[in-house]
Each structure stands twice: as C-alpha cells, then as structure tokens.
C-alpha cells in the first residue's frame, strides 16, 4: 500500500484525536477504539476525512472494525478503494 496513504491517515489521527502530540501516536496495528483514541464521533470524523481527502465513497456497511479499527486497516481500506476505482471501467 502507498506510504502516503498511511502517513496522511496517521497525521490526521495525531492532529484531530491526539492534540498534535506525535509521542502518543499508535502503532499501525493498535486498536483505535480499544485504546480510546477514537469514539463514535471520531469514526464519523474519519469517514468524512477519508471521503474528502482521498476522494472515495464509504458505504454504510463498510463502517466496521475490519476497515476502521487500526491505521493499517484504514490504509488498506483506502488503498483497496482507490485501486478499485482505477481498475473500474470508464463511466462505471
């Protein structure tokens, strides 16, 4: 997955949920929910960020821990979305 996706998501989390403190930044595979970094409000903030920053559409059934619980999962989710868009037939 592109490093820039991971870096952008990490930067967003640090800025918006950790008051800009990089020392508290979680590892890629650390649960954002279980470590009280993100709550239900934060999940929605994340959805809006992903859609606006990466120009992807997040469907309601995709808002699940499998896609949103860690930085690694978020990055993989965005990368998958972008790849699907690039390989989709024109006009689809």
């Amino acid at each position: 997955m592109p490093q820039s996706i991971n870096a952008d998501i990490r930067a967003f989390i640090i800025e918006n949920f950790l008051f800009g403190d990089e020392a508290d930044a979680p590892e890629d595979d650390v649960s954002l929910i279980e470590n009280d970094i993100v709550d239900s409000t934060g999940i929605l903030e994340m959805v809006s960020f992903l859609e606006e920053h990466f120009a992807i559409d997040v469907a309601d059934p995709e808002i699940v821990p499998e896609n949103f619980d860690t930085i690694a999962r978020l990055s993989a989710f965005v990368a998958g979305k972008k790849k699907a868009r690039e390989t989709a037939p024109a006009g689809a």
Binding site: T41, L44, V47
Partner: protein, 352 residues
C-alpha cells in the same frame, strides 16, 4: 431500549408505548416507500440501536423535496459498540431524501451530525423562556428537581401577586397586571379542523415549508392533543380587531406550572402581537412561565419582550444539494414543532 435510554425508566416499556412507537414509525402520517426507520443489529442479530425516521415532504421554489425527520436516536451500550451510532446516523443521512433533519439532537448527537457535515441552525436551536411569575417559577423548578418541594408552590402566590402590581412593563422578572390588560388581540379556542386550515395558511409564507396533506396534518393535530406530562393543551387562534385570524399558538401547561409552547404561527409581521396574546393568555391561566423552541422570525419579535434564551438541543439540517441549506440559514424555512417531531406523543406524553 426506548424506556431505558430515552425515558430513563426502569422495567419494561408500557404496552401503550410499544403500540405508539409501532404506529408512529411503521405507519407514519406520511409514507415514502424509500424512507424508513433504522435499526442496528449486533453480530448475534439482536437490536442495539435505533433511529426513528418520519418522512415529511417540504416544498421550496415550487419543487417538492423528499425529506426525513430523524429522532429517537438511541444506542444500547454505545461505549461497547461505537460503530452502531455512527452507522445509524450515516445510514440515515445517506438515504434518498433531499433533506435530512432533526430538531432533538442532544450534545453527543449534535457533535456526530457536525462530523457528517450537518449544518447546525443556531436560531432554530435556541430554547426561549419567559418568566411570568418569578416565585412560582422558582417553586416549579424546585419541584421538578425534587418533588416534595412542590409544597412551596402556594407560598409563592402572595409574593407573585405583590410583584405583579409593581414595576413598569416590560420586566425581566415578571408580567405585571398592567402589561397586557385590554391591550392584546383577542383569542379564541381553535378546533382541530380550523387548526389544520390555519397551519396550512400561515406556513405558506415561508420560502421552504412542509407540504402537508390535510389528512396527514389532521392526524398530527389529533395526536398532538395528548401530552400528559406537559399539562392541559391550550390551542388558540389570535384575531385582528376585525375578527380575522392573524396567528395561532399551541401550548401545554397547568396553573402553577411552566407551559411548553409547541408552535406559534402568524401572518408575516404579526409575530409580536401574537406572542403578546399568548403571554396574556398564559398569565391569565395562572402559569408561572412559558418556554418553547425558537424560529428566526419569532426570536426577532421576542427581542425587547424580555425573553431569555438557552440551548438545550439542536435543530440540524443536512442536504446533498447545498443550495437547499440557504432558506434554513436565512431563516426562511419553517422548521421545528409540527415541521419536526415535537407534535408526537413521544415528547411530553405518558403511556402508562
């Protein structure tokens, strides 16, 4: 879940509440095949979240807008499943409607709406309060926090009676005897049929307003008649000197209590006289204060009439087409009350 989370009650929900929830959300006044209430299921298939949705068409610039009012938003154990509330709200906003609306968002819900780019409407979110009898008001507030304090209510009456004879109106603290005596427009009870007719007449002055059918509005008016927790219903039309209806107000309350105003309607520019007539009516009935939800035109008229304003819950709109936000931001939308969910028995009624 409704009984436990929204009503803060213990034990099972009364049968009446179950029946009303079923009627309201499965057979609402307006049907839209594409707009429904939402439930959230745990992995084991049990329900842990709900968003009650009422379809209600609005009209703007001659076009009908598919709209949905969201309320009764609840999640059981949201700390354990923070995705439930997020998914419910997101699913609601992603529906086929042009306008997603709520008038009852608490602080948490308001933050969630904001994160999904909902527009908070300050002028529609302000709760107003007008004190009529200050000692009675304090006694009523004390009684609402601690029931035995109601014993102080009779003691407040002589103090208020004395105060009402003093001070040049208008006063922040009270309505004096001289304030409205013989000066306000006349009022008369409005029956259900007349109420429906006046609602449709008065809201048509707003650039964006509900497109009520007569039958749906009749049902809403009928259901609004019962709010046992708020007190007796007072529904009066306000008449010009020539006897023409220029406004309508609807509130609930009993003598010695704080009245809840659900709707104030008027011809454009007549908000002030209608508000005065309502205050005179409530004072005459022995209420100690009136409170209600703001609308920009009302708030404008309330300035100078010694109202206080606080924020309790938020009115919020979300539109995929951002041009539809304009009438809300400019205060040209009729929203809250009957253009919301305040008319339902969920707010202010008992089911036992």
């Amino acid at each position: 879940m409704f009984q436990r989370i929204l009503r803060k009650g213990h034990g099972p929900a009364p049968l009446g509440a179950r029946e009303y929830l079923e009627t309201l959300f499965l057979d609402p006044p307006y049907h839209d095949d594409d707009i429904h209430s939402l439930v959230h299921l745990r992995e084991d298939g049990t329900v842990n979240g709900f968003m009650g949705v009422l379809p209600m068409p609005f009209v703007y610039q001659g076009k009908t807008l598919k709209s949905a009012i969201g309320g009764s938003f609840m999640v059981d154990g949201h700390e354990q499943d923070p995705y439930a509330g997020a998914r419910l709200l997101r699913a609601f906003q992603s529906g086929p409607q042009d306008l997603s609306l709520t008038e009852t968002a608490n602080d948490v819900s308001t933050t969630m709406w904001r994160k999904l780019r909902g527009t908070i409407l300050p002028d529609y979110s302000l709760e107003w309060l007008r004190i009529l009898r200050p000692a009675g008001f304090i006694a009523a507030m004390a009684a609402s926090a601690f029931a035995p304090a109601a014993i102080a209510k009779p003691l407040a009456r002589p103090f208020d009676a004395l105060l009402r004879r003093r001070g040049a109106p208008p006063q922040w603290t009270h309505v004096s005897d001289a304030e409205f005596a013989g000066k306000t427009l006349a009022t008369e009870d409005a029956d259900a049929a007349e109420t429906v007719s006046l609602f449709q007449q008065f809201v048509s002055a707003f650039a964006l307003h509900p497109q009520w059918t007569e039958s749906a509005l009749q049902r809403m008016v009928h259901e609004s008649q019962r709010k046992a927790d708020y007190g007796a219903m007072v529904r009066r039309k306000v008449l010009s000197r020539g006897g023409k209806p220029v406004g309508l107000f609807l509130y609930y309350g009993d003598a010695g209590g704080i009245g809840r105003v659900i709707q104030i309607l008027s011809l454009p520019g007549q908000e002030g006289p209608v508000i005065d007539a309502m205050l005179a009516d409530a004072t005459e009935r022995g209420l100690v204060a009136l409170r209600g939800r703001g609308q920009p035109t009302l708030i404008n008229a309330m300035l100078g009439r010694r109202f206080a304003f606080i924020h309790a819950s938020s009115s919020i709109v979300h539109a995929k087409d951002k041009t539809l936000l304009e009438p809300f931001i400019k205060g040209q939308a009729f929203f809250n009350g009957f253009a919301g969910e305040s008319w339902t028995r969920l707010l202010g009624d008992r089911f036992d």
